[in-house]
C-alpha cells in the first residue's frame, strides 16, 4: 500500500482527464511524469476508478514502451539509435554511458537513482546525429568523450 498522498494525486489527475477509458493512457502518463515511474498499486487504482478490468489496464501499460513499473533515475538518458544516429556511430556513445555508469542492457538505472539509460529509435534531430536526450533536453553531435563530460556535469548539477 502506498502513502495516501499518492492516491490523492491520482485522484486529481483522474479528475483533470475524466474517469473514462479513453483517458487511461493520458492519466498513467501524468502519473509517470509525477513519480518517474508507474506504481503498480496506482495502475490498479486507476483501473478501478475508470471501471476497466485491471488485467486490461495492465495490458495497456505493458504494451507501450514508455511505461515503467520500476522507478527511473532523476536523469533519464535516451540514446538515439535511429538510422541516422546509428550510421553516425551512436553505439560507442551508448557503450560509454554503460561503462561510466556501470549499467547494461539489463540494468538500466544506477543504484543511487540518479541515472537511467535507455535507447530510443529517433528523437527527430537527425541533422545533428548522433543525439541523446536527457529528460526533455536534446544534446547534439555526441561522442564518447562528450558522453563522459555530460555525466560529470549532470552529477555536479544534482549536487548543486
Amino acid at each position: 500500500m502506498l502513502e495516501k498522498s499518492y492516491y490523492d494525486r491520482a485522484d486529481a489527475i483522474i479528475a483533470s482527464h475524466g474517469a473514462v477509458q479513453a483517458a487511461l493512457i493520458p492519466i498513467i502518463q501524468d502519473i509517470q511524469a509525477e513519480y518517474r515511474y508507474l506504481p503498480a498499486e496506482l495502475l490498479a487504482y486507476v483501473a478501478k476508478r475508470l471501471n476497466i478490468n485491471e488485467a486490461k489496464a495492465y495490458g495497456v501499460a505493458t504494451f507501450y514502451e514508455n511505461f515503467s513499473f520500476e522507478p527511473k533515475g532523476k536523469y533519464v538518458i535516451k540514446v538515439c539509435d535511429g538510422t541516422a544516429c546509428h550510421v553516425r556511430k551512436s553505439i560507442p556513445v551508448l557503450e560509454t554511458f554503460y561503462r561510466v555508469l556501470g549499467l547494461s542492457k539489463e540494468k538500466h538505472t544506477t543504484d543511487d537513482m540518479l541515472f537511467t539509460v535507455e535507447t530510443v529509435s529517433c528523437l527527430g534531430a537527425c541533422g545533428l546525429a548522433p543525439t541523446v536526450m536527457v529528460n526533455e533536453e536534446v544534446h547534439p553531435r555526441m561522442t564518447p568523450e562528450k558522453a563522459e563530460a555530460l555525466i560529470s556535469s549532470l552529477r555536479e548539477e544534482s549536487q548543486a
Binding site: V20, Q21, A22, A23, L24, I25, P26, Q29, G59, V60, F63, Y64, E65, N66, F67, K78, D81, G82, T83, A84, C85, H86, V87, R88, V120, S121, C122, L123, G124, A125, C126, G127, L128, A129, T131, M133, E136, E137, V138, H139, P140
Partner: protein, 626 residues
C-alpha cells in the same frame, strides 16, 4: 474574440501593419535541432541586450522611440547541422547567420541590427563563397519551399503572425464560399496524395467518409512519425502548428466532423507544447469551438501523446490507442473511413497532408498541380541525414531526382566519401543506389523500385556502411516493434533477424539467403497490417541491390565495408612483436600462443575478435586485416 469574417480581415490588416512597423526582426530558429545546439540561450541573450538599449522598443510598444525590434522564435530554418541559426531581417533584407554563440549576440546587435553591417565570420560559406541571404544559400535556393514557406519567417507561436502571412484564408474561403462537397472536389482535383507513405488520394478518402450514413465523424491527424531518420512532421508541428490545425479544420468542415485528434509521438515534447499553445490561442479567439467565425461550423481539437509504440503509426492501431487500448492493428475491412475512431467514419491523414490543405483551398487545385508530376502533384518534404554534407529538412517538387537532392541540395557526400546508397522510407522502405540517381522521385516510381517515399526519411550512406548490417539494423527495429498480434510478423521477423545476425556474425550460409527470401515473401503476403507487410522491404531491397555484399559475408567471411566486427582478423606482425606474452595473457579465448622473446601467433579458429590483444600490446604489433 474573432467571430466574423470581417473581424478576421481586421486582425489580418492590423497584424500586417504591426509586422511592417518593425525596423528590425531578430529571428532565432527554434526547431528541435537548433534548440539542441543552444538557440534558447541566444534568444534570451538578445532579449537581455535589447531590453536596456535606449531608444529601442521591443515588440509592439507605442511607437514613440527610435526603433522597433522584434525578437522571434521561428520554425526550422533548414540547415540544422549549422545551428544555432539566426536571421536578421531589416525591411526586405534578410541576413542568415550560422553557428551563433551567445558571445556573438552583442556584435550582431551592434553591427547588423543597429547599423546594417554584416558580420562576415558568421555567414554561410560553401566553396569559398559567403552567402548573406538565406534564399541564396544553395541548400535552400535549390528547394521549392511551399509547405514550409513560413519557417524562419514568422514566430511559430504567434497566431497574429500566422494570420498576417495569409493564414486562415483557406478556412475562410471554405466556410464562406464553398460547400463541403466543393472542398472535397478541390482536394480531389488537386491530386493531393497522403504523405504518410501509401500515397492514397486524399480527396477520395474524404469523399468516402462524407458518404457514410453515420452522422458522427472524426478527423484524426497521424503525428506519430516513428520512422527512424524522419523528422519532417515534427518540424511542421513545431514550426507551423496553426497551418496543421487549419488543414484539419477544413477537413472537418468537408466531412462534417465536430471533433478532431492529433496523435503526437512521445519523443516530440516540443511539438506537443507548440500544438497545445496553438489550440489554446485559437480557443481563446473563438476559432476553435462552437460557431466558428459566426457560421454553423463547430470543431474541437484534442491532443493525444503516444507512449512509445511504433506500430501506432498504423491507422487502426493509432485509433485504438486514442481509445485507451493497446495499439494493435485490426483486420480490414471495415476500413478506417467506415469504422475508425470509436467505430465512426474517420478521416485519418498525416501531418504533412493536412498542412498542404489550406493553400490548396486558398489558391485552387490548378495552382497545386502546377508543381510536381502528373500523378504526384505538389512538393514533398524529406529529412536529409546520414553521410551527407548538408543535413536538414528539405522540400522539393515531386519528381525531383535523387542526384539533385544529394549533390545539388545536400552538397554531396560528407568528407569526400563515395555515394553508396540512400535508404528511403525507413523500416518499411528500401535503398536506392548509384543506378537510381536519375529516377524522378514520386509515389509510383519508387514503388516500382521496391522502395517507397514513406514519410520521407532519407538516410545517405557511403562506402563505410555495410548494407547487410543496415538490413540487420532495420530488422532488429521491426522485430522490437512488432505488436505480436499476427504470427507472420511476430515469428517471421524474429527468424529473419536471427539469420541476419548469423550472417553479420560470419556464420551465415547460402541457404540462409534463400530462406530470407522465402520468409520475406511469406511475411509480406500474410501479415495483418502495413507494417508487417513491409517489414521485409529493407532486406529484399539490399539483397536485390547488394547481393554480392551478402555473398562476401557468407562465402568469403569478409565485410567489404569493413564494418562488421566479426569479420575482422587480428594478426601479429612478427617483425614488431617482442614476444612479451602480454597479448596471450589478456586473451579471453586462449587463442594466442608462442614462446617468450619470439613472435607470438593468433589462432584464427579460436579468436573471438574481441580486440583485447590489440589494446594490450605495447608495441603496436597487432593489426586488423579485413
Amino acid at each position: 474574440m474573432i467571430q466574423t469574417r470581417e473581424a478576421m480581415d481586421a486582425l489580418r490588416q492590423q497584424a500586417r501593419e504591426k509586422l511592417e512597423s518593425y525596423d528590425c526582426r531578430i529571428l532565432v530558429c527554434s526547431g528541435t535541432g537548433c534548440i539542441a545546439t543552444g538557440s534558447e540561450r541566444i534568444y534570451e541573450k538578445f532579449l537581455e541586450i535589447v531590453k536596456d538599449v535606449p531608444g529601442v522598443t521591443l515588440e509592439f510598444a507605442p511607437h514613440d522611440k527610435d526603433a522597433h525590434i522584434g525578437i522571434k522564435k521561428t520554425g526550422c530554418q533548414g540547415v540544422c547541422e549549422l545551428g544555432p541559426l539566426v536571421r536578421i531581417q531589416r525591411g526586405k533584407e534578410v541576413v542568415q547567420y550560422i553557428k551563433v554563440a551567445p558571445e556573438d549576440c552583442e556584435e550582431i546587435f551592434e553591427r547588423t541590427v543597429r547599423h546594417g553591417e554584416i558580420v562576415e565570420r558568421l555567414l554561410y560559406r560553401q566553396k569559398g563563397v559567403a552567402y548573406q541571404s538565406p534564399e541564396e544559400i544553395p541548400f535552400i535556393a535549390k528547394q521549392t519551399r511551399m509547405l514550409v514557406e513560413n519557417f524562419g519567417k514568422y514566430d511559430s507561436e504567434s497566431l497574429e503572425e500566422y494570420v498576417a502571412g495569409g493564414g486562415f484564408k483557406g478556412l475562410e474561403r471554405a466556410l464562406f464560399e464553398m460547400q463541403p462537397e466543393d472542398v472535397i472536389e478541390t482536394i480531389d482535383r488537386s491530386g493531393l496524395r497522403g504523405r504518410g507513405g501509401g500515397g492514397f488520394p486524399t480527396g477520395k478518402k474524404w469523399r468516402q467518409v462524407a458518404a457514410q450514413s453515420e452522422p458522427v465523424r472524426y478527423v484524426v491527424c497521424n503525428g506519430d512519425e516513428g520512422d527512424p531518420g524522419a523528422f519532417m512532421d515534427g518540424s511542421v508541428m513545431e514550426g507551423d502548428p496553426f497551418r496543421l490545425v487549419e488543414g484539419m479544420m477544413i477537413a472537418a468542415y468537408a466531412v462534417g466532423a465536430r471533433d478532431g485528434y492529433i496523435y503526437v509521438r512521445a519523443e516530440y515534447p516540443m511539438s506537443v507544447r507548440r500544438l497545445r499553445h496553438a489550440i489554446e490561442e485559437l480557443e481563446k479567439q473563438g476559432l476553435l469551438g462552437d460557431h466558428i467565425l459566426g457560421t454553423e461550423f463547430s470543431f474541437r481539437l484534442h491532443i493525444n501523446r503516444g507512449a512509445g509504440a511504433f506500430v501506432c503509426g498504423e491507422g487502426s492501431a493509432l485509433t485504438a490507442s486514442i481509445e485507451g487500448k493497446r495499439g494493435m492493428p485490426r483486420v480490414k475491412p471495415p476500413r478506417t473511413v467506415e469504422k475508425g475512431l470509436w467505430e465512426k467514419p474517420t478521416v485519418l491523414n498525416n501531418v504533412e497532408t493536412f498542412a498542404n490543405v489550406p493553400k490548396i483551398i486558398q489558391n485552387g487545385a490548378d495552382w497545386y498541380r502546377s508543381v510536381g508530376t502528373e500523378n504526384s502533384p505538389g512538393t514533398k518534404t524529406f529529412s536529409l541525414t546520414g553521410a551527407i554534407q548538408n543535413t536538414g529538412l528539405i522540400e522539393v517538387p515531386m519528381g525531383t531526382t535523387l542526384r539533385e537532392i544529394i549533390f545539388d541540395i545536400g552538397g554531396g557526400i560528407k568528407d569526400g566519401g563515395e555515394f553508396k546508397a540512400v535508404q528511403i522510407g525507413g523500416p518499411s522502405g528500401g535503398c536506392l543506389t548509384q543506378e537510381h540517381l536519375d529516377v524522378p522521385l514520386d509515389f509510383d516510381s519508387l514503388k516500382k523500385l521496391g522502395a517507397m517515399i514513406g514519410s520521407g526519411g532519407m538516410v545517405v550512406m557511403d562506402q563505410h556502411t555495410c548494407m547487410v548490417e543496415v538490413a540487420r539494423f532495420f530488422m532488429n527495429f521491426t522485430q522490437n516493434e512488432s505488436c505480436g498480434k499476427c504470427v507472420p510478423c511476430r515469428e517471421g521477423t524474429k527468424r529473419m533477424l536471427e539469420i541476419l545476425e548469423r550472417i553479420v556474425g560470419g556464420r551465415g550460409t547460402m541457404e540462409d539467403l534463400d530462406m530470407l527470401e522465402t520468409l520475406a515473401s511469406t511475411i509480406s503476403e500474410t501479415a495483418l497490417c502495413g507494417l508487417g507487410k513491409s517489414a521485409a522491404q529493407p532486406v529484399m531491397s539490399t539483397l536485390h541491390n547488394f547481393r554480392d555484399e551478402y555473398i562476401a559475408h557468407v562465402v568469403d567471411k569478409k565485410c567489404p565495408a569493413h564494418a562488421c566486427a566479426a569479420m575482422r582478423r587480428f594478426v601479429i606482425s612478427a617483425d614488431r612483436c617482442k614476444g612479451c606474452s602480454k597479448c596471450a595473457r589478456n586473451c579471453p579465448a586462449d587463442a594466442i600462443s608462442g614462446v617468450v622473446r619470439s613472435p607470438f601467433r593468433i589462432d584464427p579458429e579460436k579468436c573471438i575478435r574481441c580486440g583485447a590483444c590489440e589494446s594490450a600490446c605495447a608495441f603496436g604489433a597487432i593489426h586488423i586485416e579485413w
